[in-house]
Amino acid sequence: MGALFNIIRKEVKEMVRDPRLLLGMIIVPVLIFPLMGSAMTATVESVEQSASNINIALINNDLGNRSAQLIDVFNEKGITIHDRSEYEPEVLFDELDPEYSVIVVIPPNFSFNIENDSSVVVNFYTVMETYSISEEIPASVLGSYMAEYKQMIVDERLTDAFPDQEPWMVENPILLSNEAVIDGEIVENVSPGRITEQMMMQSMMIPMVMMMLLIMAAQLAATSVAMEKEEKTLETLLTMPVSRNSILFGKVGGVVVVSIFALIAYMFGLSYYISSMANMSNDAGLNLAEIGLAPTTTGIFLLIVTLFLSLIAALSVAVLLGSLTEDVRSAQALMGALYVPIFIPAIALMLVDISQLPEFIQGIIYAIPFSYPVLASKAMYTGLYTPILFGIVYQVIFTIAMILLAGKLFSTEKILTMKINLKNSKGGAFPLLNMLQGKKK
C-alpha cells in the first residue's frame, strides 16, 4: 500500500510540474469555455449595439403622404434619419466616413401605388467595407420595421375587401399546432424539435466533455509509461522491491487524481459558459425537468458508473499501449488510434438513436466500451437501462482483461525488449497499420 501511494505521489508531482501538461489539461480547459462564452457575449453585444443605433440617409421622392407613415414608424423605433432627398443615391455611395449605415430610397410613386392596391419597390443600399455582421445588421433590422409597416397596409387592404373578417384569419386559412407528447401528456406549445435540441445540449454536453477529458487522461497515462522508457528510468523502477501491479496501478491512480482536478476545472469552465449562453438568449431555455423529462437518479448513477469505468478502461488500454512503445512520441501516435473509438459513438449517437442504425453498426457501437456513457446519458431520460447494465458488465470485463494483459506484459522481460517505434513512420494517421507492418518485417 505504501509503495502504491509512493508511486501515485511521484506521478502526480511529475505531471503537475510539467508545464505542457498543466497548460493542456487544466489551464486551457478552464479558460477555453469562459473565453468562448465571452467571445459570444461580445459578438451579441456588438450586434445589439449596431441594431439599437441605426442612422439612415433618406432620399424621399414620394409625391404623396404615405411615406410620412413609414417615417413615423422609423422614428418610433428610434432610428436617426438624415434627410438627403436632394441627392442621387450614387453620390452618397462614395461619401467618406458617412454618418449613416443605410441609404433608403423611397420612389415617387410610393403613395400612389400603395393606395391603388399595387406594389412598389423601396431601395436599401448598404455600403460594405468590413463585411462583418455588424455592417449587415442595420439593413435587416430596418427590413423588419418595413415588414411591420407592410403588415399594416396588408391589414388595411384585407379589412377593405373582407369587412366582416379578421384580417389574420383571411391571411391564415390553416394554423398548425405542433406539440410534443411525453408520457401520455401534451407539452403545451413545445414542439418536438425544441425538445430534441434541448436534450442534445443537456444530455450530450457532459458526456462530450467527459470524452475529451478521457482522451487527455489516456494520453497522460500512455505518456507516463513511455516516458519511463524514454528517460531510462523504467529499468531501475523494475528492480525496486515493489510489485509490478503496484507500478501499474500507481500510474493509473496518478492519472485519476490529476483527472479529477482537470474535471473540476472543466466543470467550472463549462458552467460559466452555459450560464453566459443562457444570459444571452432572452428565451429562457426550455426546462426539461418542468415538462417531465428529468433524469432519474438511477440514470445519473449509471452515467457516473459508465463514465468511471470508461476512464479506467481507457487508462488501462493507454498503459498497455504506452508499454508497447519505446518513446513518448510513438506512444502518442499510437494513442491517436484510441481517439476514433472514443469519439465515433459519441458523435453518431448525438445525431441518431442507436435503434435507427444498421445492426452491424449497432454491434460495433456496443462492442466499444467507451460508448456506454453516451448511451447512458440518453437512457437517463428514456429509462431503457438494460443495455447499460449489460454494458457495465462488459466494461468491467474489458477493463480487467486490459489490466491483466498490461500486468502480464509488465511481469515479463517483454516490457524491456519489445519496441514499437513510430517516430519515423510517415503515415502518422495509421499508427496501428504501421505497427502491424513493423512487426512483420
Binding site: G2, A3, N6, R9, R17, T236, T239, M240, P241, T417
Partner: protein, 244 residues
C-alpha cells in the same frame, strides 16, 4: 565467508543472437567483482539477469542463496541496480528522487529518512540536490544515481559501467565513494567496466568475458602476471580478439 553471487551455466538467447553461453561466475561476500569484456560481450545481459529484468534461456543464478528466477521479489529486496544508461525523473529534485526510491524500502524495517540523508551525502551535490534533475549535468545525474544505488545499503550492488561518460573528476569521486562504501558497509559489488584503470582501482577480482563466455578469472594482479603483461589493458588486448 558466504557466496554473494553464483551463476551456473547461464545462457541467454535473444531471437537469433546468443548473448551468453554457459556463463558461470562466483562473487564472494564483501568483494568488488568486475566483469570485463569488449562491447557486446554480454556484460549487461548478465547483470540484467541477476537483477531480475531478464530471464535466462537456461542455467541458474543465485544471490545469497536466493534463486533469481524463482524468487525475483526476494532478490529485489536485497539488491540495487545501476543501469548502464539511466535517467532520473526530470521534474523531481535530486532529493525527491532519493525520497521516492527510499519509499520502496519502508516495509523492510529500514529507515527511509536515514537512507535519504545517506544518499544526499553520497551524491555530494551540496545545495544542487534541491534542484530539479533536468537541470543536472550528466555527471551530476550519474552521481545521484550511484548515491541512490548505495544509500539503501543493499547486500549486493550491481553496477553497469558506474563511471561511464564521466570526466576524470567525477569518475574519481565515484570510484572513491564506491570503494569507501564497500569497505565501511560490507556491501558486495558486481560491476562491469571498459576502463582498466577503474578496474585495477576498484576490483578485488575480475572475470574476462568475450562472446558470452568466460575467458579467465582472477585478481587484477594475478591476471597481469599470468598473461605476462604490463597492465590490465594489455591483458584485455591479449585475451580478446584485439590482440590476435
Amino acid at each position: 565467508m558466504s557466496i554473494a553471487v553464483q551463476t551456473t551455466n547461464l545462457t541467454k538467447h535473444y531471437k537469433n543472437v546468443v548473448a551468453l553461453e554457459n556463463l558461470s561466475i562466483t562473487v564472494k561476500e564483501g568483494e568488488v567483482f568486475g566483469l570485463i569484456g569488449p562491447n557486446g560481450a554480454g556484460k549487461s545481459t548478465t547483470l540484467k539477469i541477476l537483477t531480475t529484468l531478464l530471464t535466462p534461456t537456461s542455467g541458474q543464478a543465485h544471490i545469497f542463496g536466493i534463486d533469481v528466477i524463482e524468487e525475483p521479489d526476494e532478490i529485489r529486496k536485497i539488491i540495487s541496480y545501476l543501469p548502464e544508461e539511466a535517467g532520473a525523473y526530470k521534474q523531481l529534485t535530486g532529493r525527491e528522487y532519493l525520497e521516492f526510491m527510499a519509499g520502496f524500502h519502508q516495509d523492510d524495517g529500514k529507515d527511509p529518512k536515514a537512507m535519504v540523508d545517506r544518499g544526499v551525502g553520497l551524491a555530494g551535490l551540496d545545495e544542487r540536490i534541491d534542484d530539479r534533475t533536468k537541470e543536472y549535468s550528466k555527471g551530476m545525474r550519474r552521481r545521484l544515481l550511484i548515491a541512490r544505488s548505495l544509500m539503501t545499503i543493499p547486500k549486493l550492488a550491481v553496477m553497469d559501467e558506474p563511471a561511464s561518460g564521466l570526466d576524470v573528476n567525477h569518475a574519481y569521486y565515484v570510484r572513491k565513494i564506491i570503494r569507501e562504501y564497500v569497505e565501511n558497509q560490507g556491501v558486495s559489488v558486481l560491476l562491469s567496466s571498459h576502463n582498466m584503470l577503474e578496474v585495477e582501482f576498484l576490483c578485488d577480482r575480475i572475470a574476462l568475458i568475450d562472446d558470452g563466455r568466460i575467458i579467465d578469472t582472477g585478481t587484477p594482479k594475478g591476471l597481469i602476471e599470468r598473461y605476462d603483461a604490463m597492465n590490465l589493458e594489455e591483458v584485455f588486448i591479449k585475451v580478446t580478439r584485439g590482440g590476435a
